[in-house]
Subunit: 266 residues, 4 copies
């Protein structure tokens, strides 16, 4: 995935959306798929505000075994229905090698979560898929390890990889993670892959999603992934960091200005 | 796994060896199983020096896809042969849910590596096994997350869990990781499970294995896991941190003194 | 310094320059003052490119006692001459309580370096000065500790404080430090003080100064501090992260666009 | 301070006590000197339990300007009186270059605190003193930076330096800091200076002082510094990590066993 082997930048297609081209890719949607109504309401809201891709978790990695673990296959079915309704391609996390075939069949983009960035068997499996992969940076992974994880996917045959910086773990716990802005230009200098940012997981707080998203775009990110929920206070996971659809629309407005300032569009 | 539910300490049986009892458990062997000769030579060396359990990796998680990935099933077969020869029970890492049944059949203790500490599907699978589990702490996992990962295993039905501190990732890279000595008494205060230490991975350098091992025992660890290789300079993985069998015997001698000083034996 | 006591934002005057107002403050100049020619050439270059304040170190904190420690008083004299020539107010670091009176007499803004953020006697001394203070965040300081350090200055009577995020120390050493973008909006939410960014020290590499500076402005920073040297390859300190005057002019051009996109000017 | 220039280990004399010799040095006493009664009661308690050197802070560095800052000169006077009474040499922190002459006159060992490890002017001043220096490791200092800080003292003429590991700042905040056990053998391999450990500041909790102290000694530390207070619950600073004199006596008993196990005495 190094730029040495391929000096021009890659553009990765997700459904009809190009990631890594002049136009930024905006991925939005709920942390977890919770119900048909929640997902459709969210999908329509983010579509209207200009999002390009719908996100939603069906298989959730959770620190405690007693927390909500996602709807599983039912979640995939609801995501497909939301795509049907809005036309937005969908991205969802695949957590287990045994889910890969099923998720690959349903989703337009396969997400590898931060905690699985060095789950090498899973990387190899998605490396054998025909859908593109969104590879989140591990919360304690160096940039080099992140790119080597991408190399595991590429070595298995899948070159359609999008990198996603989502905050790293440091001594400062004011925000949930420390968003590593510098990782964006460094990853873009060292690889030909598109690099996007996830300001929702990085900050863990809705009020800081906008400044991190704007900063990421100004620093050269090729897109952002933002958590949106129709009723954040009732979310089954990650409520405090979720924007309402109208707050998301407002962020989109501000992203547009900054995108233009750096020669991109939204 | 909290001590609130069970105030007395657990003792976990691995073959005929008790981990968590008065006598410390010493696990030793090569990072990777490389060949019959390498493994047997190593197994006999560590047995003679007083080790209780033989370690050896058959499925290796590797940062780069181009590095040696382990011998796989052939490695398991060689481990079983070494157990046959020496009588030592064996521990080996299981990396993928699809390997669990096979590894459970062969090994006496199933190791979950640091990079898989939050691979929740894998935790659940080993939680369904009848063999005990050695759960390494993730390199950026808080103690709370480590214990919650153990809870994933316990919630799936397997209460025979041994925790292993193996160093965390910090700003200081003089050694490979920062060995978190305090995690040992804290984990022992918060859980009833045995807690051991891996000074080899923590330090990454053979010359610092002994001081970390001695410190861990003095601070209350229930055992240590040490990498030993008949020819460290020719090892296919982790050579710089591997002890020769004779250096290991020397460390055992020093461990014995410190163990006695804290009311334990080796 | 909390916003609770003072909900409106503070504007700090440095000479005739307002920091924290609609117009961003751009501080530029060499890491160390090395000679009259070096400083004047630099001062004129950054003035022409639109900088507001000239920086230059006379007393340098250096990890090794055998490195260049700065020109001391002679450096202060050269800074005053550069102000005379260009009209730019000057900022320089004060490292020792015994230098405070002298530096306060000469400089328009007193810098407290990252390594002295918790040198409480020094904070108290600059708290007794009539010149404003630029307080850099310590490389392992939480945001709370940073604001409490500002409180030490304020408690001694000086409320004219500018905060500066300059990167924190984390496990990732790809860049010199990890620029903590989120600290900017958090510090602005918790205090009424202006907050600027130092992308030069954060990145340690000239090629990453622009993306970090642009990101900081997009995320709400009130200004940036950038190291500029007429001949970076010959600098006595921090050469690799210094921009040439013409590279700085190019960064100013890009900053202008992003500033406008977020409703500010340069 | 490198071992290259001086292969044999240094022994530093503090009053009549040798630090770095076969017998371990135990430093104990309150965080802050609070009153004559508090200090004398503490001094007699630790002396009786076998401590070699009395500690006590007169000038306290405090995160908030509104916390107790120490008794200053009065604290020095009380320390001298405690030495008079018990015969124990005393160590106290010097925080400001302007206090150095006075503290040097009174104390037997000058402590540089973690927050001042890179206060280079202060290092230079104590480098000009005739009393030995206890140099604590900065909470985000690499081992290399710590040794370079010692080099600042040595370059100014004072070679009587004792290094002290006191925990570093990492992502895990279960304990106050992460005690870096590996730093002890590494510092001893790279320098000829004695290296001791401060388990009280590292852990921040009285119940974890003993395991960290025992671990440090087993790993090769030349001594420990432990906070003791006659009534920890009424301490003006660091109460939660302070041992009572009788708990300290119990720790001394355990230290003695481990010291013997590694060929040292207490």
């Amino acid at each position: 995935v190094s730029r040495e082997g391929r000096p021009e930048r890659s553009v990765v297609r997700v459904g009809d959306v190009e990631v890594g081209a002049e136009k930024l890719a905006v991925i939005a949607g709920p942390c977890s798929v919770e119900s048909e109504q929640q997902l459709l309401s969210c999908a329509e809201g983010v579509k209207e505000a200009g999002a390009d891709i719908l996100r939603g978790g069906a298989y959730k990695p959770r620190t405690s075994p007693y927390d909500f673990q996602g709807l599983g296959e039912e979640g995939l079915r609801l995501l497909a229905a939301a795509r049907e309704r809005t036309g937005l391609p969908i991205v969802t996390e695949v957590r287990d090698v045994r889910q890969v075939a099923l998720v690959n069949e349903c989703a337009d983009l396969l997400q590898i979560g931060a905690r699985n960035m060095q789950n090498f068997d899973l990387l190899k499996e998605v490396g054998g898929c025909d859908k593109p992969v969104l590879l989140k940076r591990g919360l304690a992974a160096t940039i080099e390890e992140w790119l080597k994880a991408a190399e595991h996917i590429a070595a298995a045959g899948n070159l359609n990889i999008i990198l996603c910086e989502r905050g790293i773990r440091t001594f400062d716990t004011t925000l949930r993670y420390t968003f590593d802005l510098g990782a964006i230009p460094v990853a873009k200098a060292q690889t030909h892959l598109p690099v996007i940012a996830d300001p929702s997981h990085a900050s863990g707080q809705a009020e800081y999603v906008a400044p991190l998203a704007l900063g990421a775009i100004a620093a050269g990110a090729d897109g952002v992934m933002i958590e949106v929920h129709p009723q954040p206070e009732r979310a089954l996971s990650d409520g405090p960091q979720s924007l309402t659809p109208s707050a998301f629309a407002e962020v989109m407005h501000r992203l547009r200005s900054v995108a233009q300032a750096v020669g991109r569009s939204v």
